[in-house]
């Protein structure tokens, strides 16, 4: 159905009529309500008409997920923007979902705080929380789920709800924020969040350790346990594998740790910008490539790593988080899914990026085991008519 059917009913909604490709589906319009009430009104009418919407923020990760089943419009949070409550004495902030991470970082950074969401600057806060994805600094900063104190949500029916609060410790009722974080907007559209900020570290340093392929994982695991370490990346380049670390904290501890790494592992100083470049690698994916993420416990990391290498994958790991990223060429797509499932073993895997024809008929979220009935029932309970992002999430719900 065309979004024009909603004309005159939903108030101040900017509609862009340029088609956007979402995994092979041309979505003809992008609706940009001015605020959460606007989203609520829009969703209420859209769901009454049996329409489906794909919530989005800055669209940096719009290709993440299974093939959409159907979509009448993209629902953008981009106009919901800004920090409307930030107490530098408290280290928490209330931020609208469409706010870009770089804007938020700049605002709170000026007061000595940092945002514990490690994704590229253009990402929106809503997108970061809806995908639940993170970069390597989650090792030191914690996962997105731990940064969220409260969320404001608009459900498929248009009903607005809130969970959590602005306080840093809270067990008042069920922790629905955990359920919404990482749910890809399938239970409701996130419109604002209370985030717990962290003190910005006084000192940061990056180091680089050249390693032999055979003991790359071992060294990476050893190193990643060090105190003051906020991130560790094991990368493979043409020059061979490298372990990169980023230290953060008070200056004396960071200095001491750096000296120890230089002494014990022949680590070399690197620029923070170089580390940032390596940290960003996880997001890249060529048009003729597939990118997988695997969660494997440390004990199985080395065998998963060598199995994937033998299968011809390009590799990256965040050992402190138990995550491995593997890239395969499209020509090897069929066998890639088999190799990845085998390497993951009892762990988990996701296909984070792939051409849409490869996604056809597959669940890119891997296997949910005995959880599948609960996941389906939750979706049904919150969005029985499959208005929000139908088909895209785990279990193709």
């Amino acid at each position: 159905m065309s979004i024009a059917a909603l004309k005159g009913r939903v108030g101040d909604v900017l509609v862009e009529h340029e088609a956007v490709d979402v995994d092979g589906l041309a979505v003809c319009a992008t609706a940009q309500p001015a605020d959460a009430d606007g989203i609520s009104l829009l969703l209420r009418h859209a769901s009454e008409l049996g329409m489906a919407a794909i919530p989005c923020g800055s669209r940096t990760q719009i290709a993440y997920g299974n093939l959409p089943q159907r979509a009448d419009f993209l629902l953008s949070t981009q106009r919901l923007c800004g920090v409307d409550d930030f107490d530098p004495g408290e280290g928490v902030c209330h931020v609208a979902a469409g706010t870009r991470l770089d804007a938020l970082r700049a605002q709170v950074g000026a007061h000595g705080w940092r945002v514990p969401l490690d994704l590229p600057g253009p990402c929106s806060v809503g997108g970061a929380l809806a995908t639940g994805l993170t970069g390597p600094r989650a090792q030191g900063m914690g996962l997105p789920r731990d940064a969220v104190l409260g969320l404001e949500v608009v459900h498929a029916s248009g009903t607005r709800t809130r969970c959590g609060a602005r306080v840093v410790k809270n067990v008042t009722g069920y922790d629905l924020a955990k359920l919404y974080t990482g749910s890809l907007g399938t239970l409701g559209v996130l419109t604002a969040a209370w985030l717990r900020l962290q003190p910005a570290p006084a000192a940061e340093r990056a180091l680089e350790i050249p390693v032999a392929f055979a003991d790359a994982v071992q060294v990476a695991l050893e190193v990643s346990g060090a105190a003051s370490l906020q991130a560790c990346v094991l990368s493979t380049t043409r020059q061979g594998p490298r372990v990169w670390v980023e230290l953060a904290g008070d200056a004396p501890g960071v200095e001491a740790r750096a000296r120890a790494l230089i002494r014990d592992y022949a680590a070399r100083e690197a620029e923070l910008a170089d580390f940032e470049e390596v940290a960003q690698c996880q997001h890249g994916c060529g048009e003729r490539e597939l990118r997988f993420r695997l969660a494997v416990p440390p004990r199985q990391l080395a065998s998963a790593w060598s199995l994937l290498a033998r299968a011809g994958a390009r590799l990256l790991a965040h050992p402190g988080l138990s995550l491995v990223y593997a890239w395969f060429g499209v020509d090897a797509a069929e066998s890639a899914f088999v190799e990845v499932a085998e390497a993951a073993g009892a762990g988990q895997w996701w296909c984070e990026a792939a051409p849409s024809r490869i996604k056809q008929g597959r669940d890119v979220f891997g296997d949910m085991g005995s959880r599948l009935p609960l996941v389906r029932a939750l979706k049904h309970s919150f969005d029985a008519d499959a208005v929000l992002n139908p088909g895209r999430f785990a279990g193709r719900i």
Binding site: R166, P199, G253, E255
Partner: protein, 477 residues
Amino acid sequence: MSALLRDLESAVGIGGCLWRPEELLPYECDGLTLGSQQAAAVVLPRSREEVQAVVRACRRHRVSFVPRGAGTGLSGGAVAHAAVVIECSRMDRIREVDAVDRVAVVEPGVVNADLSKAVVHLGLHYAPDPSSQLACTLGGNFAENSGGPHTLKYGATSRHVLGLELVLPDGEVVELGSRTGFATGYDLVGAVVGSEGTLGVVTAGTVRLTAIPEAVETLLAIFPDVVSACRAVTGIIRKGLLPAALEIVDQRTIRAVEASVYAAGLPTDAGAVLLVEIDGPAEDLAGQVEAVRGLCASEGASRVDVARDDAERQRFWRARKGAFGAMGRLAPDLYVHDAVVPRARLPEVLDAVCEIGDRYRLKLSNVFHAGDGNLHPNISFDRRDADELARVLAAGEEILRTCVAAGGVITGEHGVGSEKRDFMGLVFSEDDLDAMRRLRSVFDPDAVCNPDKVLPTPHFCAEANPKARGYDRVPFE
């Protein structure tokens, strides 16, 4: 013997099923001793299979059931009214400890402190440390998302649970989460932790083990009053310091502690003490100690001592940890309140809380997780005095309302249980609560698992005083 009891006995064996009135007595309340309820029976399963058999028996007989750990909960979450109590204390094995993966797989009946004891030789510990850790079980901790003094830096239970094995209210088993904590689909571990035993019975958990910090410093600062100690806490947070713990003990508590076996040698004329623990890389601590010392001094601390050794550290902590025990000397009953406010509002809220206590003529003292803004106003009273009991309840409600008005919430770690169920409307709208009901109905569509807890019946008027109900059943000795 009823058909239900016969089925329960065949599920758990004869020694595993209690039903005589005198056997049920210890189960008529938990750590919240204001009221009492009579369970239908108590079962003590030894395995997941036995839990499943019990749940299925309950379903056949249309009886609801209530999971229970050690019964130290402070919100009436483990009490059962005509329901079957599933006590998990016999499921107390640590199934696995893996120092490489830094995880332990535990059964729900493992006592919190026993897990840390079992892994200390590996240089590891289980970080969540509720003050009740010598008695409370991990199953109870998972259910309450328990916190402790070190939650400020390390997070509450939720941050340390990677996976759960859960017997659903229909008797089926699901595996939630994973050994790495990452799992596809919704974060069901996140939803079940803190669900207060209403979504099923946890029969195992995979938890994160954390390295014991390289170095620790413990400071004890003496303040003329509790409000200036709160200001020091606000200053420490504003400065960007992240201590492992920031705990305040007020004068009335200090006096109770000093008069008890927990005496720590604190000056009884001090208005409040602030306990600060800092941990991390050894090189960083000296600077942080000086920063904390300076901030305390500038807020009027008359003395700031740094523990010279482990014995002194233990002594400092005794003042904090012995507080609840010491309070037992003040009156027959202790009502431990639990609410949270934004940390920057601590000074004014503490002022208001003390004013409320005075106005109701109550023995109110404070010992609390100041760094998290988590207040524990404790009221010592005698429940046989009906007038005092009424004042305790009225003051409690006023304290909750004060905290909510300051941007806070009605519980930070003890849970809603049956105690605060009817105050949920102070914090959440009916639509907010309805979203929570949706979650619950997915796990427990027939409302048989720990019913009447956490969520108020729809459209309950928060103005009513919930505590007024059920008091005729308070057992007077």
